[in-house]
Every structure is written in C-alpha cells, then in structure tokens.
C-alpha cells in the first residue's frame, strides 16, 4: 500500500485545528484567542479628527509669550505686540535694541522673520507648519493613549488612521458613567495657562465686548465655578502647561481635593520673575479657557509650584490630574464618527449569529448525508475540520471576529461543501459511465480540480479587495471568508481524498453505489 500523504496532512490539520481552537472555544486562560470585535463584545469606537490649525495658533501664542518675556527681562520697550492665527507682530521702540531682537528671533526654530524698519512679523515656514501639524496629531495620539492607560480600562487601542485621523477603541466599557468619563478624558484639552489680570481695566469688564478687550490685548474669561463672574486678563499668557512637570491630587485645608502642580526650571524662573514684578496684582490660573482661581500675588513666588482649586470630586480631580500629567492636547480633537455597542446588544448578536450558524450547519450536514450517504459523511467530516481550522488560524493570528465575520463563517459553510458537491457529482457521472468506483474517485478529483481552483481563486479575489478597501467590521468578513476558503482547499479537497484513499480497499470490493455515493438504482 502506498503512503497516504493526504490523510496524514488532513489528520495533522485536524489536530492543529482542534488544539489551537480550544483556547477560543473554551476561553481558557492560556493560549492565543480570537478577539471579539466591538460589535460583539460591546464597546466604544471613535474616529477623531484633529484641529491642527489650533496647534499652529498655540505655537504662535507661545512665541508671543516668549517675546514679551524677553523684552521684559532685557528691559526693551516694545509696542503693538499682537498675534493672529498664523503670525506675531510687534514694534521695537528703541532702534538700538533691534539687533538684540534679531538674534533672539533667529534662534526660534522654523520661524520666518520679516523685518520692516523697527516692526517685526514672525510666522512659520510652510515646512514648519507641516511639521507642527504632524506633531500635533502624533502628540494627540500619544496624549490620549497616556490618559487612557492611566484611566484603567483593559487594552485601550489608540492609532492613527490615514493622514490625520485617530481611531480610539475602548472595548469593555460597560456603564454609561465609564463612557462619560472616558469621553471627557479624551476630549479635554487640559491646557493650563497662567495669565495676568489686567488690573487697570478689570473693573470695567462687565461693560466690555470681546472686541473692546482685544483692543487692549486682553481677553474676557469666565470663572469656572460661577460662569457669570468674568475676568479681564492679558491674552498672552505668562506661561503654559508645557512647562509642567507634575500634577497630583492633594487636599486643601477644608479637606477638598485640589490639584498641586509643579513647573520645570524654566517655568519656575519665568514664574518667579513675574510674581516678583507684580506684587499686589492678581494671577489667573486658567484651565481650558476658564479661570479656576485668581489669587493676589503677595510676594515673589520661587520654586515653581502652584495649586488649582475647584469644585472637584476626588474622581474628577484624579481625572484632571491624569490629563494635566499626560500633557495638553496641542490641538483639540473632534468627532468624525462613532460606533458604540452596548454589551447586551453584543451578547444578542453573538447568540443570534450562533443560532444561524448552528442552524445552517445542521441543515447542510443533514442534506449532504441524505443526498450523498457515505460521500456526504466524508464531506461533513471535512466541513467540521474546516471550521476547527478556521478558528485555529484566527486564534493564532489573534484575528478579530465581528458580526459580518460571523456571516463570513456561515457563508464559508455553504461554500466549503461546494467543492465536495462538485467532486461527488463528477464521481457519480463517471460511475454512470461505467467506471469502477476506485477509478471514478481518482478521475473525479482530477476532473473537478480546475473548476474548484478557479472558483475559489475568484472568490478570494473579491475577498482580498474587500479586505483592502473595507473598514472595521467588514474587514472581519473578508478575513473569515478568505481563511475559510483557504482552509477548505486543505480539508474539502485534500482531506476528503485522503479519506477515500484510506477506504480504498473497502470501496474497491463494494458494489454498493447507494451506500457510498447515494446513487439510486
């Protein structure tokens, strides 16, 4: 008897399939498992856009702040310091100081400086703008990832999609509160700014329009606790959260949670300079455009630490500290798309698609048995092996199973038996022509092969296109279908042939066409 390599490969495939699909089937602790898509296990999927223009603006703003700080420190008189979304302009009053400013500005990376007499206009080169925008996206991804990692959800997934979109996937969000907290944490700019209150004009703040304020280089900001209370502050901040080194939850003397923050050396320096020169005036601690407190400066504050007090719960303070620690979002994010599925709907989807899968499977199996008898049984064994193999391969790759993916498996069941139908029909034909059963089997396989291969390859073409151009859940469909088709070539073609080879002697002796191939009369 010659070596039956087919049955050996089939047996190996079956053992492999059973072994590696176990972790997924029984959800064992060890081993690689299929991950369920968000549509099946429930969770939140968000596609975020990034307002990159805001990142450019905030860089411009920080240049304005450093110009002001430089002028103050060197005691250079400047006038008309103002900024737009893309440029900063100012005038140096004493022409002796122009050279000093020229050298200061030339050190700013990527800046394009246009000088007209004593007036300077600073903007960014197009290349620098590209860089800032790109950085803003990467920084947003990094920041959101950091925040979510500290938030304590299992395996948050944050990734770039396309050029300037961010995908955030949060599996296992179970409650509405969790979802709310996660959303706040992701979207919070966490932009801390220390700003000087314009003491000369603050008394008139309630009679001012934003345009009036802008004329003095000021902005009107609301109080965080009492939105009706307004402050008039200088638009160019003294310093911002980029100089923060730490933020932790502490408690004030009333035992209310507060956030203690610490500045780096440069920040502490600027902070010390400013407080030293502005004793008696107020300093506004501004977070995301709201004034959290505006204490009086009693003396020069060195050391560079401060406190944000607000009406926080401990949890709220904790989330805010996470956001501050992870850094501010250079550019705000906005929602481009969202898919969220509640855990109960996910469970329903699993149950319903399992019923459909089992129902379809049983129907096909019974049908094959009735129609083809033994040949049907052999095809059914191959079909079962096919399912195991599909699950095993998906488990090993850690593939994601989605609801359309379930449909793909259901479809694979239908298509996998197709190969066996084609082969069995060929065999029947050859038997009608008077060939011996053994010969009919051999020729049946070889005759059917080209048709089966062509049929499978064209379906694969469609599946690959779906994978490349599909998104999210649809990719899952393409994956299960492709793997299912590939696995069926091993089980339905090679595997069943191996089983016939194994039964060769019995088939050779038998004349019972009905038993083997369900042929009547």
């Amino acid at each position: 008897m010659k070596f039956n390599y087919r049955i050996v490969i089939f047996a190996l495939a079956l053992v492999f399939g059973i072994a590696f699909s176990m972790p997924s089937l029984f959800q064992t602790k060890e081993g690689k498992k299929i991950t369920l898509g968000l549509d099946l296990q429930g969770g939140l999927h968000m596609l975020l856009g990034v307002k990159t223009d805001e990142a450019v603006k905030s860089r411009i703003k920080s240049i304005a702040a450093s110009v002001k700080h430089y002028a103050d420190r060197k005691e250079i008189l400047i006038d008309n310091l103002s900024f737009t979304a893309t440029s900063v302009s100012f005038e140096v009053l004493d022409s002796d100081d122009i050279a000093s400013f020229q050298s200061f500005l030339s050190k700013i990376e990527g800046a394009k400086v246009v000088q007209n007499g004593s007036t300077f206009v600073v903007s960014f080169t197009p290349k620098e703008i590209q860089k800032i925008k790109k950085m803003a996206i990467n920084q947003a991804i990094e920041t959101i990832r950091n925040r979510l990692d500290q938030f304590g959800l299992s395996e948050p997934h944050v990734a770039k999609q396309g050029k300037n979109q961010i995908v955030v996937e949060l599996a296992g969000i179970k409650t509405q509160q969790e979802e709310q907290r996660a959303r706040k944490l992701i979207s919070r700019a966490a932009k801390l700014e220390l700003m000087a209150v314009d003491e000369a004009r603050d008394a008139r703040v309630y009679n001012m329009s934003p345009a009036d304020a802008a004329e003095y280089g000021d902005v009107i900001l609301p109080d965080a606790k009492h939105p009706k209370v307004k402050y008039l502050v200088h638009e160019i901040p003294i310093l911002d959260g980029s100089m923060l080194t730490g933020a932790n939850v502490g408690f004030n003397k009333n035992n209310k949670p507060v956030i203690d923050f610490k500045l780096n050396a440069e920040g502490a320096d600027i902070f010390g300079d400013f407080t030293g020169k502005n004793v008696g005036k107020r300093l506004a601690i501004v977070l995301d455009g709201k004034v959290f407190s505006a204490p009086n400066i009693n003396e020069r504050i060195g050391g560079g630490s401060g406190q944000i007090s607000g009406n926080y719960t401990v949890l709220g303070a904790k989330d805010l500290a996470i956001a501050l620690r992870s850094g501010a979002l250079l550019a705000p994010v906005y929602m481009m798309g969202q898919r969220s599925v509640g855990p109960s709907l996910g469970a329903d989807s699993i149950r319903e698609s399992m019923i459909a899968l089992a129902g379809g499977f049983i129907l096909v199996i019974i049908f094959m048995l009735v129609y083809y008898r033994m040949a049907g049984l052999i095809a059914n064994i191959a079909l079962i092996a096919n399912l195991f193999l599909l699950l095993a391969i998906m488990s090993l790759f850690g593939a994601t199973l989605t609801l359309p993916g379930m449909a793909g498996i259901v479809l694979t069941v239908g298509m996998a038996v197709d190969s066996n139908v084609i082969i069995s029909e060929r065999i029947r034909e050859l038997i009608y022509e008077g060939k011996s059963m053994h010969k009919a089997i051999e020729d049946g396989y070889s005759n059917a092969m080209s048709a089966i291969l062509d049929a499978n390859i064209t379906t694969l073409i469609a599946a690959v296109v779906l994978y490349v151009y599909g998104t999210g859940a649809i990719k899952g469909f393409a994956i299960t279908m492709s793997i299912g088709i590939l696995a069926s070539m091993l089980t339905a073609i090679l595997g069943t042939h191996g089983i016939y080879d194994l039964l060769e002697k019995k088939i050779g002796k038998s004349k019972n066409y009905k038993f083997w191939f369900g042929i009547e009369g």
Binding site: D39, M46, L47, L48, Q176, E179, R183, I186, S187, R188, Y334, M335, G337, Q338, R339, S340, V341, G342, S344, D348, E352, I355, A356, G359, G360, L363, F367, Y371, L403, A407, V410, L411, V413, M415, V417, D418, V421, I422, E425, Y432, A451, D454, A455, T458, T459, L460, I461, A462, A463, V465, L466, V468, Y469, G470, T471, I474, A478, G518, I519, E520
Partner: protein, 323 residues
C-alpha cells in the same frame, strides 16, 4: 438521492432568447428603480446618526416623538421599529462633533419619562467619512470586477471573461434594484454582500465554463451550441445543490441572524437566486453569440501543443548536448 441524472442534453440555448428578454427587462426595471427611487443609503454612506433604544415593553413611539421635539438636535429625527416591538431606531441626518458629550447621554436625557429603556447602540458617521466610504465602496466594486476579468481572461479566453463579467453586471444590477425596491438600508455590509455575490455568481459561471472548455477540447464533433447545452445539463445537479445549500444557510441567517444582519442576508439571498440563473441563461448565451470559434480554438490548442513539444525537444537536445 438524486435531483437530476444526465440522460441527454437539455436545450437551454433554445430558451436563451426568452431568458435574455427577461434579463433585459429586469435590468431595465432595476435601473428605473435605482434612478427614480434610488438607494436608501444608510449612515455609512450618507452620514448621520443612529441611536438604537430598547424598552422593557412595547416602545411608546408617539410619546418618544413628543419628547424628542424638546431638543433641537432631534429636529429631523425619525423613529422606526427595529425587529421587535420593544426596540426602535432613531435616525438623524445631523451629526455631532462633540467628543465630550455623547449622543447616547443626550438621547437618554431627552427620553426620560417614557419608561424603562436601554440605549444599545449609537453610530455616528460624519459627512467626510461617509463620502470617503462611498468612494472606497465604488472603487472596490470596480477593482473586484477588473481583477476577476483579468483572472478569467488569463485562465480561459477573453470571450469567456467578457461573458462572465456581463453576467456579473447583470447580477449586481438586479440585486441592487431589489435592494432599492425594498428600501433596504444600504450600508457597508450590503456592499460586502454585493462583492461576495460577485465571487459567488462567478463560481457558478466558472463551473459551467470549465465544463464548456472541457467539452470543446474533448469532443470535436459537437457544435458550440451543443457543447454549451451539454455542459449546462451535466453541471445542473451541482448548480442546484450548491445554490440550495448556500441558500439554506443564508436563509437561516436571514431568519435567525438578528435585525442587524438582515440587509446583508437579504442581498445575499437575492444574489444567490439571480446568480444561479445568470450562469445558465446569461453568461452562456453571450458566449454563444460572441461566436466563439471552436475550430480556431482547436487549431490554437494544437499549435500550443506543438510549440510545447518543440520546446521540449530543444531542451532535450540541449541537455543531451547535441547543440
């Protein structure tokens, strides 16, 4: 058990004129529906918001409408049943860019006092994303057809390729027409179903074509028409069986797979019926009308065999060191 046993070829091609008339009528009707009624694009392609709400009793739709009026956001909202009487879907064209405040929470607040309910699903697709998906969708359809055309041309002959692609266009057109007629929500999964349908319908066609090719090569006496009839008859059993088994499983999916999978299952069901029909009555007649020249094909095959033989002879000579 047996459905058919081959006795003699059934004259399918004799009925092909009627069949093609039927196909053309159906295609024209489909295009008319697509042009007038059009697809009922779901949010994947049109953009918009979907909120799925499940009550612990029958959903009080009237009351819900009243409540939703209080918030401007729901101005264009429509509420429809989703599967059971307890479950509804709120559809809106508008989308929110706000990350911090979820539509789910807003809906929950707006619906307060209408009974016990759970928000089970919130899908938002922004307008830019919708456009992108639509472009990608069309592109994928085009690429799949092109890829299949190239493959079949490579494996068979260009006339086979064109005939099978015409059949594919026929299937996709009619399936799309029915999807539009029944107002099925066209989302990504329907696109996936249409693409799968391409692969599936082509399977049927290829099985028949494979037989035709075999018939052409083997029997030199039969005309093309006879060969086609013979091949279709010989594959009829397989065609019916596979269509039936696939139909069974998709039908169970349609019945028990749940509301979300409905559009996919519907499209597939329609596709299986149309795809089976087209491989017999559309693809094959076209092949016949192209006037596939059997004699020429034989000469070509003979030449190819001759070239191969020549090449082998040369190689043998080369290897044995004659040259």
């Amino acid at each position: 058990m047996e459905f058919f046993r081959y006795k003699s070829a059934i004259d399918f091609m004799g009925k092909s004129k009627k069949a093609i008339m039927l196909s053309i009528t159906l295609m024209l009707l489909s295009y008319a529906i697509l042009l007038t009624k059009g697809f009922n694009y779901g949010i994947d392609f049109a953009g918009g918001t979907i909120v799925q709400v499940k009550y612990d009793k029958a959903a009080p739709i009237k009351e819900m409408r009243e409540k939703l009026k209080s918030n401007k956001m729901f101005n264009d909202a429509s509420i429809t049943r989703f599967g059971s009487a307890d479950e509804v879907v709120i559809r809106m064209k508008s989308t929110s860019k706000n990350v911090a405040e979820g539509i789910g929470d807003i809906t929950r607040k707006a619906l307060q006092g209408t009974g016990n309910f759970k928000i089970r699903r919130v899908d938002i697709v922004g307008p830019t994303v919708g456009n992108e998906l639509r472009e990608k969708g069309l592109m994928s359809m085009f690429l799949a057809i092109a890829g299949i055309l190239i493959y079949v041309a490579f494996r068979f002959e260009w006339r086979f390729a064109v005939a099978s692609v015409v059949a594919l266009i026929h299937d996709v057109s009619i399936a799309s027409g029915l999807v539009a007629l029944f107002g099925i929500d066209v989302n990504l999964d329907v696109l996936a179903a249409l693409l799968t349908l391409l692969g599936y319908s082509l399977n049927d066609t290829i099985i028949v074509f494979d037989r035709i090719r075999e018939g052409i090569v083997e029997s030199k006496k039969m005309t093309l028409r006879e060969t086609i009839n013979d091949s279709i008859t010989r594959t009829l059993s397989r065609t019916t069986l596979t269509s039936l088994t696939t139909f069974f499983v998709i039908f169970t999916l349609f019945l028990f797979g749940g509301e979300i999978i409905h559009p996919f299952a519907f499209t597939m069901l329609v596709g299986i019926v149309v795809g089976t029909y087209s491989s017999i009555f559309v693809a094959s007649p076209i092949l016949l009308w192209f006037g596939f020249d059997v004699k020429k094909y034989h000469t070509k095959l003979a030449e190819k065999a001759k070239r191969e033989a020549e090449k082998n002879r040369m190689r043998e000579q080369f290897e044995s060191g004659v040259m």
